[in-house]
Amino acid sequence: MVVVPDLTRAPDRATGSLVRVRGQLARFMPLLLLTALLVLLSLRNPDLLTRNSLLTIADSAAPLIVLATGATIVILCGGIDLSIGALASFASVLTALWIPTMSAGVVVPVILISALAGLLQGWVHVAARVPSFVVTLGGLSLWSGLALTISGAGTVPVYDFAALRWAFTRTWGLPSATLVALVLVVVLGALMRFTPFGRWVSSVGHAEPAARLAGLPVGGIKMLAFAISGACAGLAGVLLVARTFSGAPTLGDSLLLPAVAAVIVGGTAITGGHGGLGRTLVGALIIVLLRVGLSQIGIDTSYEPIIYGVLIIIAVSVTIDRSKVAVIK
């Protein structure tokens, strides 16, 4: 497992043992659910439990994990970032366009630019006091519009495959993309836990006025959160290019809702404050399992969305920790 920023254990300790048990249960619920789902699906299709197919799931999950991780930090601040999908597409186009000139080095500028894009959105949100939902909704159109324009609305193939080999190969038998995602989660997790950033983010998410009047750089924290989210989208974009050998202006768009779903299924409160990256990691795996697993168990594809919808609702209803969310909207 990875380090989870753990500002949430405190209240559990405070109250009686029973509550603590429930608290602990709530913390591991996502993990339990993941296992349960895996078992259930594998009853229909034993192949799912083979090493390969598990590794394949992990591999498929990588871009989603990266996106969701970034989104988590914004959501912990009490905001939301709807632009990540489009931003990832944008990044994929940039990557594909620039690989010929800068080869492997492409990663750095792409992630930087994505981070700036996120920062810009954060700045508008903070400076103009516009709800993040709106700003990033606008961002969504903006980035995909830009992606369409610079790519001439076409797929940009990648020829210099070596440049991104690291992002789509196997190391120690594990999909490297998954490792990249894990490293990201660990690094950000450490940032959240071992520096004040983590508790700042939660303070802002829980009680922004209090955070502000305690002299926390609320605006800065929010903008940084959006910047990180942007950077993650950029990285996700690179991973996508690595596995499709090309960049395309709509490559990552479809990952937006699954990413947010992953965050919430992981048990992070959409109202902000409570949650963590480890939870999101598990949440992402659950979502991917639902996405690919359902098509593997030989049910009529027409029923697939229905079952997906039902399962996703069940998933959230068991994973969210209601004791941490004041008003549920």
């Binding site: 500002l7 254990r9 300790r13 109250t15 520096t195 829980h206 009047l213």
Partner: protein, 508 residues
């Protein structure tokens, strides 16, 4: 049916246990028809839990609640209302974005709504009936968040009175800390309301302000540790007596730790505010010396809150010059103020002061995170050490440093907030916006002591306070603000404290 002396409401051996604490411990008392019963007790004495059980928000573990002699089980506010118990909540329970009429009738519109359809005429008429009961002139059609705080409280009372129409019996009205945030004049009106109320109902009056309880109540129950420890007759009881009963120990003049007030006339100037102009105040000029406690008196609209917020960078000021230790301050944000060594204890503790779900440690180390970091990294051990030290110094009662601060009592929460600023190595100016609001006598006294410590440690303190008495006792000087300007400065040295009246005259 029942004899006039038979109690309307009787509570018998009420007990409520929470993990770790027993909030109510076999509490018993009764309320007779048309009387005003006062309930006093320190925080943690069980007042709030009692009220919650009386309006059905909390189910008691043991004990009975009798209405008109009949035992009842209350299943929530609405049900309690239908049984004849209504409550005016301390933190106001009005929906800001709907009309007064809707608020008054919310959830019980009666003929104001036919088959789900609003008939605004009827609504307003019905609401008007309620407002008339308390002789209020508020327009039932007005949007609630356009009213003043006092007006809204009147609406609260009117709202509670609707339970009359819902029950056959005479209602019992619970007033929880109704005066804690009212102006003097407003309190006077409220007391008139209570007099009116008693014509038609019985009233339970809960307050920290002993004088007021003594003023309005027919009988007073003193609560401590979840039990009724005394029932007193206000006519032959003095605030001091009541106070003693309340905290279970002698309360002397030392309540304000006045003897700890050190003169600071020689101390260097710490803060100078010149010609400050911001929304709500025209031109404010004053200064504070190091180690001085400066009180700022003024009625609502005098602009003193605005000055405080401006000095902390929480609101922009359009003109003026603020110098701290001869260094000009640019107060772009609270952040900047904190960097410059200014601290702020807001009046709205729960929303602006603390982050309820987070740990005591996190809340305390919030402002000066540098104290617990090496480089960018948090030093868990260092933090625990620091926090434990302050928890001890401030006498904060908490199970552990990782306890969620929201679960502590108001007093302890406030101490953590104060501690947050004392942690800072060079806190130069601390702005206290009603630091003792909603605290019980014991906690207040502790907070006073802390303020003294700060002052004698050389920190300048800017104090806004709930009562003049408190402010005068604590301050070296008091500046009086009116209509956004400083109209008078009164020296309040140790041993020669002026009479509040002197200041009152200037305020109004």
């Amino acid at each position: 049916m029942s004899t006039p002396q038979a109690p309307v409401l009787a509570v018998e051996g009420l007990t409520k246990r929470y993990p770790g604490v027993t909030a109510l411990d076999g509490m018993s008392f009764e309320v007779r028809p048309h009387e005003v019963v006062g309930l006093v007790g320190e925080n943690g004495a069980g007042k709030s839990t009692l009220l919650k059980t009386l309006i059905g928000q909390v189910r008691p573990d043991e004990g009975k609640i009798r209405l008109q002699g009949e035992p009842v089980t209350l299943r929530g506010v609405a049900h309690a209302g239908s049984q004849g118990i209504g409550m005016v909540f301390q933190e106001q329970s009005l929906v800001p974005n709907i009309t007064v009429a809707e608020n008054i009738l919310l959830g019980a519109e009666r003929e104001g709504v036919r088959t789900g359809v609003y008939r605004w005429g009827a609504m307003k008429a019905l609401a008007q009936q309620q407002l008339d009961k308390i002789g209020s002139s508020i327009d039932p059609g007005a949007r609630t968040d356009t009213l003043t705080f006092a007006q809204r409280q009147m609406v609260e009372v009117a709202k509670v009175l609707t339970i009359e129409e819902r029950t056959t019996v005479e209602p019992v009205i619970l007033l929880d800390e109704p005066t804690s945030v009212l102006e003097r004049r407003e309190i006077a009106t409220l007391f008139k309301q209570i007099e009116r109320l008693r014509q038609r109902a019985s009233v339970v009056f809960v307050s920290h302000r002993l004088e007021e309880v003594l003023e309005v109540s027919d009988r007073i129950y003193v609560l401590r540790n979840g039990q009724v420890v005394a029932e007193v007759d206000p006519h032959d009881t003095s605030p001091a007596d009541l106070h003693r009963l309340l905290i279970g120990r002698e309360s002397d003049g030392g309540h304000y730790h006045e003897d700890a007030q050190e003169p600071c006339d020689e101390a260097p100037l710490r803060l100078r505010v010149e010609d400050l102009m911001t929304a709500g105040c025209r031109s404010v000029t004053f200064d504070i010396r190091a180690g001085e406690v400066l009180g700022v008196a003024g009625v609502q609209g005098s602009g003193r809150e605005e000055v405080c917020r401006a000095l902390f960078g929480a609101t922009r000021f359009s003109r003026g010059r603020v110098t701290l230790d001869d260094r000009r301050l640019r107060l772009r944000s609270p952040r900047a103020a904190v960097r410059a060594g200014v601290g702020y204890v807001p009046s709205q503790r729960r929303t602006d002061g603390i982050v309820p779900p987070m740990s005591v440690a996190a809340n305390m180390s919030m402002a000066y995170v540098g104290e617990i970091c090496r480089g960018p990294l948090l030093q868990g051990k260092r933090e625990r050490g620091l926090v434990d030290r302050w928890i001890e110094r401030l006498g904060i009662k908490t199970p552990s440093t990782t306890t969620a601060i929201g679960t502590l009592s108001g007093g302890n929460q406030q101490k953590v907030v104060l501690g947050r600023w004392m942690v800072g190595e060079d806190l130069r100016l601390l702005i206290l916006d009603h630091p003792t609001r909603g605290l019980d006598v014991g906690a207040k006294s502790d907070v006073y002591a802390l303020i003294r410590d700060l002052a004698s440690a050389g920190c300048a303190v800017l104090l806004l306070s709930d009562t003049l008495e408190e402010m005068i006792a604590l301050s070296h000087r008091v500046v009086v603000m009116k209509d956004g300007e400083v109209v008078k400065t009164v020296d309040t040295p140790r041993g020669a404290k002026p009479d509040p009246v002197v200041i009152l005259e200037e305020m109004v």
